[in-house]
Symmetry: C2
Subunit: 149 residues, 2 copies
Amino acid sequence: MDIVHRVGMTTPQEAVYAALTTTEGLAGWWTKDVRGDGDAGGVLAFRFAGAPDPGGFDMSVLAANPAQHVLWEVVDGPEEWIGTRVRWDLRTEGDYTIVLFAHEGWRERVEFMHHCSTKWATFLMSLKAYVETGRGEPAPGDVRISDWH
Amino acid sequence: MDIVHRVGMTTPQEAVYAALTTTEGLAGWWTKDVRGDGDAGGVLAFRFAGAPDPGGFDMSVLAANPAQHVLWEVVDGPEEWIGTRVRWDLRTEGDYTIVLFAHEGWRERVEFMHHCSTKWATFLMSLKAYVETGRGEPAPGDVRISDWH
């Protein structure tokens, strides 16, 4: 089962790609606590100190094709996430960079998947704000959507 | 294929249920242009005049079990939506009303499904704001997420 999303931003593809593949960019919209290497073959470690569960995710970067495609595999994190993949496809459409997002390979439609779907959407809106205005809402200042944060 | 989401709001279950089953409530967070009957057996007509595609959806209300469960079937609207179902399950968890949402029965993982998933998330955040503060962001004043609005 997959979580899917689509957003469009009035920012060149290259800048959106940088926000997905550099720790400076990722810290601008997802979590300020990110380390590692966002190029193909690297590993990125995302941590969320502000959340009730102070965990995080380690992503192995399977692909990073400049300005077009990024693919991560979750190698550490919540049990439901291990082995799932996060896919980003970018293209230009008129004045917009279109971002197609998928978090693929959920084994069951658990309640945590529902939560992550909504949470991804708010982080994608944070990505959009970050690349369009320079100001996103990364953790620990991320949008609270429920008791699960 | 299903779109799923989870949000929590610090508002009693009954008030959230009213926001899903009365035209006044639905107009507070989804679209101001809504008519019909939100009780079981009724039909609700949602229109989105501000969007690039000035269409909408007609939902047949298959179930409306007070304060717990609402189920709609799409009887008119975009081709991809016809026959799909929108499911709402509410429960109380501590200080929160938890809303589990699913838009079920997509035949293919089309780009429009990606768009609708993100759009549902922003409308669910609008629902949360509406029931918690009295002020949502219904269409035509809804959050713009892309060129598809």
